[in-house]
Symmetry: C2
Subunit: 193 residues, 2 copies
DNA sequence: GAAAAAATTTGACATATATCAAATAATTAT
DNA sequence: ATAATTATTTGATATATGTCAAATTTTTTC
């Protein structure tokens, strides 16, 4: 299997937003590398700056932070999604977020330096970034509304919709902290019907 | 006062993120136009597609939606911020958001078509969009955390910090819906100390 | 496959915030 | 200025969710 081949999925993802010239395809293929994480493995420790962005092929990564000694899940990421610690990655400074693998995960990664090179030399990469960020924006707004104005039960239902492919693979405690409720409450909600 | 002059502030804003060539400056100045809103005036009605993006020079705009007949404030925007209905503006479709002026507001605006022209012809505009969106990202993440894990009082304090310049100019009811609590609760929080 | 560890469920009780209703206070219009 | 409207405050009570503790179930390790 050659390099071009291993990056097929991710190139297809770019092509949802922009046209890829042969030149850019080749540059991307040279800079994007495969990586694997075992279940439970730490992908990013908050004590380090995040220098890589991961694109998931298979599996689930979780972004979380620690508050009063407890892990609070910020969000979950599945197939065809980019994962990094946004502020740390873009501004090259430490931030509060950890990333770990909820299940064994196959991903690609690109180093921030390589990404910057691509931004500097391929304007269409800037466009890709703008357009793909736009989608995430809407999700954030929906989530904010969901947290503010709905009961714990409604939030759980919203979560199931948002993560329809993967919600049943995420442990209860992690879901509870994502929803901003206690494990006990979530357990009771699940038991209801 | 010539056109270049009236767009001084907003050009300065762009220059925080990218260098502006004379050519781009001139294109921007031709496409960015001043506009005024009176206190209480509707800037965008959700029954229309949002075709303009506003950059505030002075005053406050509020983005809100209607749930069960009540206005729910999504966020407030002050000096040096862009305001539009994100999904509507970018995808040229209707969305749920209204925008109104909390106080008399001076702004600039640009039409979506003009912005697209600029994106297509000035790669640095794509970069500007990517970088300026990045900042907003962090705010969303902070807000999500603020809503999930803090009491109504803590959220109000967080709100005061986030909107330190303008929070005292926003009516109580609008703040309450922004925080996801009732007016009565917010009134009691304010009365406390 | 038994033992240990971790995750989930269940129970009793506490509390922050919501709801509904009414009283003031502050703005806006005549 | 006065009336009318709108915004804010206050009070009494209800309810969803949290907290703490223990029991059970599931998963992991040896």
């Amino acid at each position: 299997m050659n390099i071009i081949n291993t990056t097929e999925n991710i190139l297809a993802h770019f092509e949802k937003f922009i046209e890829l010239s042969e030149k850019l395809k080749s540059e991307l293929s040279q800079r994007i590398k495969p990586i694997q994480f075992k279940k439970g493995e730490l992908v990013l420790d908050a004590k380090h700056i995040c220098t890589k962005s991961y694109f998931i092929n298979k599996g689930i990564l979780r972004t979380y932070f620690i508050k009063n000694g407890k892990e609070i899940s910020e969000y979950f990421s599945g197939t065809d999604e980019w994962v990094n610690s946004p502020k740390s990655f873009m501004q090259r400074e430490k931030d509060i977020y950890y990333i770990d693998a909820i299940e064994t995960t196959e991903a690609y990664f690109i180093n921030v330096n390589d990404l910057v090179y691509l931004f500097d030399n391929f304007p269409e990469m800037e466009r890709y970034a703008r357009l793909s960020m736009g989608t995430v924006f809407g999700h954030f707004m929906e989530r904010i509304t969901s947290i503010r104005f709905t009961s714990a039960k409604e939030r759980y239902i919203h979560f199931q919709k948002t993560y329809s492919n993967i919600y049943h693979r995420i442990p209860l405690g992690m879901v509870a902290s994502y929803l901003g409720i206690t494990q006990e409450t979530l357990s009771r909600i699940r038991a209801e019907k």
